[in-house]
């Protein structure tokens, strides 16, 4: 197996053994139960609301999971051991983002599949969810690099999740999306809107391009954050 495959395996194993997978399944089951009650409702006219909720959820767990996993690694000293190994930093980032994004993606897709009766585009929805989860996960690395323990991280984490969900609030508050063109999750939000055949303010090409550009920017910032955390272990 390659280093990347081992990193993916290690992250999945860590999430399983720390109990996160079971907690996640329990919470998901609860959400599904509630959502099933709403499945009889007519969503016509509420697609914007659904799109906003989906963005919030897609942004939430990647930031949280990345933060918790990195803090765990740092407290155990495993991050220090990784820092003095030939582990490729990009592989480390990519593996973790892949794992947390897949968790987020699977949960949201299953929820939509179970609840939403009207027609939607699974491709656009998957792209939007993946984009939002990936960008959020990468920003999770940046955020957690400023904190050394879980308690200090929790409140800023909530703030970061709220900031990443801003295009969703804009929908709910009727703020024109064009004002949020610059926002990291505006591209994914537009893709999610398109999935529900909404009149998104961004064209498909622009939405994809914005998502990719922000993913690249977030990846560079996450890479720098890894360097910052390694320097913090050193004491500088």
């Amino acid at each position: 197996m390659t280093a990347f495959a081992h990193l993916v395996q290690n992250d999945v194993r860590t999430l399983y053994r720390t109990g996160y997978v079971w907690v996640s399944i329990a919470v998901f089951a609860l959400m599904l139960l509630i959502a099933m009650q709403a499945s009889n409702l007519d969503f016509a006219g509420y697609e914007q609301f659904v799109a906003a909720i989906i963005l919030f959820d897609a942004a939430l767990s990647p930031v949280m999971l990345v933060g918790l996993m990195v803090l765990l690694e740092r407290s155990e000293g495993a991050f220090a051991a990784l820092s003095v190994s030939p582990m490729p930093t990009w592989a480390y980032l990519a593996a973790r983002v892949l794992v947390v994004s897949l968790f987020s993606l699977a949960q949201m897709l299953l929820l939509v599949l179970a609840v939403y009766d009207a027609s939607y585009s699974p491709t656009a929805l998957t792209a939007g969810l993946a984009g939002a989860a990936c960008i959020s996960g990468l920003f999770g690395f940046l955020l957690v690099s400023f904190f050394d323990d879980l308690y200090a991280f929790l409140l800023p984490m909530i703030g970061a999740i709220m900031l990443l969900g801003v295009p969703g609030y804009a929908v709910l508050l009727g703020i024109p999306q064009k004002w949020l063109f610059w926002h990291p999750t505006s591209g994914p939000m537009a893709l999610i809107e398109k999935a529900f055949a909404l009149d998104a303010r961004q064209g498909l090409f622009t939405a994809v391009a914005t998502t990719l550009v922000w993913a690249a920017v977030a990846a560079i910032l996450a890479h720098l954050a890894i360097g910052r955390m390694q320097a913090r272990i050193g004491g500088s």
Partner: protein, 283 residues
């Protein structure tokens, strides 16, 4: 293997934590940095395993300026931290398999390295069930898995019981026999005395002295022997200058009386030498 010339590092705007360190470490040598807490030992090591950047002076490792090494540096280097540095939810075996996956060159079988450090029977136990000593040994196992040419050890016997400390010391000596260079930091004089070919005394970020432990002890010896004699269970001790001992009549008399129980040359311990040279205690 390592050539440092005027190596200096300061955290932020503080006074230098290591100041103008100049030393060399030869290939296949065990070199130890000795000093009390806060002397700069860990800082020097962190520079050497690239956790601290922005140092001053020249630092060549394995024939190349340290800053010019890329990630391939860690293909040839092993680092053993003093504090536990493993995934606690993984077993010892899983930890080693995970870390060995990053190396491009063939690595040693994890089971074999675990055998070396006495953890073979605990290979499938999760690290969270390990004592601190077991985790220290697992750290050492991880640092050896890539057959490193250069091994950095930070307090390698810290927290180990005498039996395992012995095992670890033997393992370190075996690494040298196999051609590895070992750079260790410790404040344990026994470890330094037994393992190191040369030691450097580090105090307040400065290198006060470098030399072989035996040479340093001899250099600071008062050249005195203590002779203990016993009659009827009462032990008496007398001291004689080492120089001219063969002509010392009292000493010859004691020899002739056949009452001598022990003769010791009163060489100072490495700790005594450290205190004489630096004026500081090690603890």
């Amino acid at each position: 293997m390592i050539k440092a010339n005027g190596l200096t590092f300061a955290y932020g705007g503080n006074a230098p934590a290591v100041n103008s360190l100049t030393f060399t470490v030869g290939e296949g040598e065990i070199f130890g940095f000795l000093g009390p807490s806060g002397a700069g030992k860990s800082t020097a090591q962190k520079i050497l395993f690239r956790m601290l950047r922005g140092y001053g002076g020249d630092l060549h490792v394995m024939g190349r300026e340290l800053q010019n090494w890329g990630p391939e540096y860690f293909e040839r280097v092993g680092v053993c931290f003093e504090l536990p540095a493993n995934y606690r939810k993984l077993t010892a075996l899983e930890n080693l398999r995970f870390f060995s996956s990053f190396f491009t060159a063939p690595t040693i079988a994890p089971e074999e390295v675990l055998e070396w450090v006495g953890l073979r029977a605990d290979a499938n136990k999760r690290v969270e069930q390990f004592s601190k000593g077991m985790q220290t040994r697992l750290n050492l196992a991880r640092s050896l898995i890539n057959k490193p040419s250069l091994l950095f050890l930070d307090e390698p016997t810290s927290g180990l019981d005498p039996g395992n400390a012995r095992k670890v010391r033997d393992l370190i000596l075996r690494q040298r026999e196999q051609g590895a260079t070992v750079f260790l930091t410790t404040h344990d004089m026994h470890v330094a005395d037994e393992l190191c070919d040369r030691v450097g005394f580090l105090v307040n970020g400065r290198l006060a002295r470098v030399g072989a432990p035996s040479a340093l002890r001899l250099e600071h010896s008062n050249r005195i022997v203590e002779v203990r004699t016993g009659i009827g269970g009462v032990v008496d001790a007398e001291r004689f200058p080492l120089d001219g001992l063969s002509g010392n009549q009292r000493f010859q008399h004691l020899l002739a009386e056949d009452r001598i129980q022990s003769i010791h040359s009163l060489e100072p311990s490495l700790e005594d030498v450290f205190m004489q040279v630096t004026g500081e205690k090690l603890a």
